[in-house]
Symmetry: C2
């Protein structure tokens, strides 16, 4: 955890300071954004730092100004993606114009749109990294698990709201249903990438909604 | 397809013939078995041929006696794993001592045992490769999809049998239910590896069985 907290603040460490007119914060943010894209598409092990730096026109020396090493960079990338995704969930799940179950459907619809937009090349960074776990720095495992737990808590809360509004039986175990959603959802994303179709995501949500009935 | 069919037969191609007392068929089979293990644990891109050959004490020249290149080797490995897994499914699904739904449960129990046995390092080769799709030879995508389709057909047939025996409603869509199983199952394997626990697999099958009620 301390590593991650440290690497959040762009403290000078070693290497040259950035020379361009772009602010250090902006350069760092661009590196992280590009890291999200590349790690999602290629995985962590396969993606080279050089490729990311070249694309962003950042010299290697400057990279070490922001991050201790690739692992520390990876931790920040995971953290940033987790927060981005969590905000997306919060936006959907707090949309009181829709019923709680409709809010979940709206999230799924947006995800289907996103998969198509990026031609089924991306999917979920967290799921992708989970799959290459054996090749990752050991600290990532705990971090990925915490990310899933956070998303799971957000969905549990939505399902509790569904219970309060009479949309879901009070007998349903909202925590188990939420855990089940994320189990199946990652599988659905995987199959969608393989089939280059949102059909597995639609299939998953259709049966999931049956369980909420 | 032709590549795969060709590479099934250990035709001499280039490089030295094997020198040890082990038969060529045995050497080839050992390479494929070790390929299944290494590609499942590390993925295709991360696993080096050198590592596999060193472990099996096979000189690189001999490797090319059996396989044209790493891609051709990968295709045979996928094919072999798919057949092994399909036989496992067939063994469970044809066990008439159990009801069709109980046979599915028996398969899941064995899978949980296997995950624990290999300390959550392996999971499913096909799911793992599906996740690194962007880095794989393009021909693998179709091959992986065909594998899933074959497993899906096996489960559809089991669910049809459940219908005939009155264990599953005749109104259920067995093909959709089967597709849904494999979507969720790959997600469950992913989460099990992440959590180092069979709990996601148990959670998945529990809710899946509710859908069959």
């Amino acid at each position: 955890m301390s590593n991650r907290q440290l690497s959040k603040t762009p403290l000078p460490r070693r290497g040259r300071p950035p020379k361009s007119g772009v602010s250090p914060e902006e350069t760092r943010a661009r590196l992280v954004q590009h890291g999200i894209q590349i790690f999602t598409e290629k995985g962590f092990s396969q993606a080279g730092l050089d490729e990311i730096l070249k694309h962003q026109k950042v010299p290697k020396g400057s990279f070490y100004h922001y991050f201790q090493n690739k692992e520390a960079f990876g931790e920040v990338v995971i953290q940033e993606y987790a927060q981005y995704f969590s905000s997306k969930l919060a936006r959907h799940f707090s949309n009181t114009k829709l019923s709680p179950v409709e809010r979940l459907q709206a999230f799924v619809e947006e995800a289907c749109y996103g998969m198509q937009k990026y031609e089924f090349r991306r999917g979920c960074l967290i799921g992708n990294l989970g799959q290459e776990l054996n090749s990752l720095p050991p600290a990532f495992r705990m971090q990925l698990e915490e990310v899933f737990q956070a998303w799971q808590a957000q969905l549990s809360q939505l399902l509790s709201e569904a219970q309060q509004l009479g949309e879901l039986s009070l007998e349903s175990d909202v925590d188990a249903l939420s855990a089940f959603f994320w189990v199946g959802w990652e599988g659905a994303i995987l199959k969608a990438k393989l089939m280059r179709s949102t059909q597995p995501m639609q299939l998953f949500i259709n049966y999931y909604l049956k369980l909420l009935d």
